[in-house]
Amino acid sequence: MGAVVRTLPIRLEGVAFEHGATRLLGPLDLTFEGSQRTAVMGPNGAGKSLLLRLCHGLIAPTAGRVRCGVAGAPTDPRVRRRQAMVFQRPVMLRRSVKANVLYALNRRGIKGRDARSRADEALSMVGLQGLGSRPARVLSGGEQQRLALARAWVLQPEVMFLDEPTSALDPQAAQAVESTIQRFHERGTRIVLTTHSPGQARRLADEIVFMADGGVVERAEAEAFLTRPQSRQGQQFLAGEHTVSPAVHPRREDSHHE
C-alpha cells in the first residue's frame, strides 16, 4: 500500500465534457473542500451525474482538468482509494452480501481476519448484520443500496459520491439510506450527493450546487438556496416548473459559471 494521499480539495478547472459534437457539461470551475455535505441539484440532464463521474475519475474531461488533493488526478490509484462512489442503481456482485464487502477490501489489499472484522462492522453500520451469507442480488432495493453504502464506507474514503442514492426506493427504505449517509458524515466522510428532492437536500446537505444545462448556475448554503434561490432556473426548479434540462445542445462557448 502506498502513502496516504489526500483527495480533497477536488478542483475542476475549466472542465467540459462533450459527446461527439454535443457538449454535455461545462466548461466549469468548481471546488469541493472542507467537511461539509454538498447536494448537487438540478433537473434531469443538467449534468449532475457527469459531474460526480468526472470527480471520481470514471470519465475523463474532454477539456480542462480535475485535480484531487495536492497534485493527483482522480484516476490515480492513490487518489481513487481515498474516494468511493455509490450509484443510483447499486451494482451487486454475484456473491453473498459479506463477499461483496470483502471484495472491496481485498481490492485494497486488506484480507483475512482484519477484512472479515471490518466487513462485519460495515454491515452492522448499515443494519445488514445477520444477512452476510445471503446472496446480494436477492436483497430488496433498499437493502441493496445499504449494502452498496457499506461496501463504499468500509474503504474509509475521505469523500463519498452518491448519485441519487434513494431515487429508486420507497420512503421507508429511503429514510434508512439517509440515516446511513448521515452516520457516514458524522464519522468524518465528506459527502457529495446528487438529488432531485429539496427535502432530502435539506436533511442531508449543508450546501447546494445547483446545475442546469451542463453548468453550475448557483452555489449557496442549503437553507438559503432552498428558501431564496437567486437564479431563475433555481426558482423554476424548486417550483417544479423545470424538470428536464435541455442537455443535448450544440457545442457552445458561453458557460454557466458560479
Binding site: L58, V91, L93, R94, Y103, A104, R107, V138
Partner: protein, 231 residues
C-alpha cells in the same frame, strides 16, 4: 427393429465390455477436449470482451463464424498437421486419442471463446463503473468477471462438450475408428450401422441421446440453481 432395440437395452443393462470401452473413451476424449479448449478459450474470450486492439472486430466475427466450423474441415486440417509428411508428423499422433482430443479442442474452442466473450462483455457492461470505482481495472477485472459469470460459463463449456461428444467426421479422419484404440460412440454407430449390427449401434445411440439429455438438463438445472443462489 424391436428385437434390436431390446438387445441394445440388454447390452446396456449388462454393461457390455466393448460398449463400456467405447463410451469410456468417448467421455475421456471429449472431457479432455473441453478441459484444454476451456483453458485457452475462457481467458481469450474474456480478453476479447474487455480489451480493444486492432482487428478486434475481425476476431469477433471469426470466432462467431468458427462456431459453425464443419467438423470434416477441422479433421482435415489436423490430419494434414499430424500426417507423416505434416509439420507435426514426427510426433506420431495421428490415429491416437490425442489426435482426437486435439481436433475436438479445435471445434470447441471457438464455441467457448465466442460465448465467453458475449457473457463477459454483458457482465462488464454492468460492472464496469463499480469495479473501476473499487480499483479493479480491466486486467484485474478478468478473474472477477470469470467468477461472477461462472454459471453461464459452465453452460458454455457444456455446449462445447455436447458439440464434441456428438461429433463424428473429425474424429473419424484423425482417429481412424480403430477398435479398442480410437473407436468412440459416434464413429462406432456409423460403422456398426453400415455393417448391419444394429444392436450395438442402437445401444450406443441410446447412451448418446441420454448423455445429450443429461447435458441439457445440467445446463438448465445450473441456470435455475444460479438464479436461486446468486439472483
Amino acid at each position: 427393429m424391436l428385437d434390436a432395440f431390446a438387445s441394445a437395452l440388454a447390452l446396456i443393462a449388462t454393461v457390455d465390455a466393448e460398449l463400456a470401452g467405447i463410451v469410456g473413451l468417448s467421455l475421456r476424449v471429449s472431457l479432455s477436449a473441453v478441459f484444454f479448449a476451456g483453458l485457452l478459450a475462457l481467458p481469450v474470450g474474456a480478453a476479447v470482451a474487455l480489451f480493444h486492439f486492432p482487428g478486434r472486430s475481425a476476431v469477433i466475427v471469426l470466432l462467431n463464424a468458427l462456431m459453425g466450423l464443419p467438423p470434416v474441415v477441422a479433421g482435415l486440417m489436423i490430419y494434414l498437421l499430424l500426417s507423416r509428411v505434416g509439420p507435426l508428423g514426427p510426433l506420431g499422433l495421428l490415429f491416437t486419442p490425442t489426435a482426437m482430443v486435439i481436433v475436438q479442442s479445435l471445434l470447441i474452442f471457438p464455441i467457448v471463446a465466442a460465448l465467453t466473450r458475449q457473457i463477459i462483455s454483458d457482465l462488464w457492461e454492468e460492472y464496469r463503473e463499480q469495479l473501476t470505482s473499487l480499483g479493479a481495472g480491466r486486467l484485474r477485472a478478468i478473474p472477477t468477471l470469470l467468477w461472477d459469470g461462472r454459471y453461464s460459463l459452465v453452460t458454455a463449456l457444456l455446449a462445447g462438450f455436447g458439440r464434441a461428444v456428438a461429433e463424428v467426421g473429425a474424429v473419424l479422419i484423425v482417429g481412424g475408428n480403430i477398435a479398442g484404440v480410437t473407436r468412440v460412440m459416434t464413429t462406432a454407430i456409423a460403422l456398426e450401422t453400415n455393417k448391419g449390427n444394429l444392436t450395438l449401434a442402437l445401444a450406443l445411440g441410446v447412451i448418446l441421446m441420454t448423455l445429450t439429455i443429461i447435458i441439457n438438463g445440467l445446463a438448465y438445472g445450473l441456470g435455475q440453481f444460479a438464479r436461486r443462489r446468486i439472483g
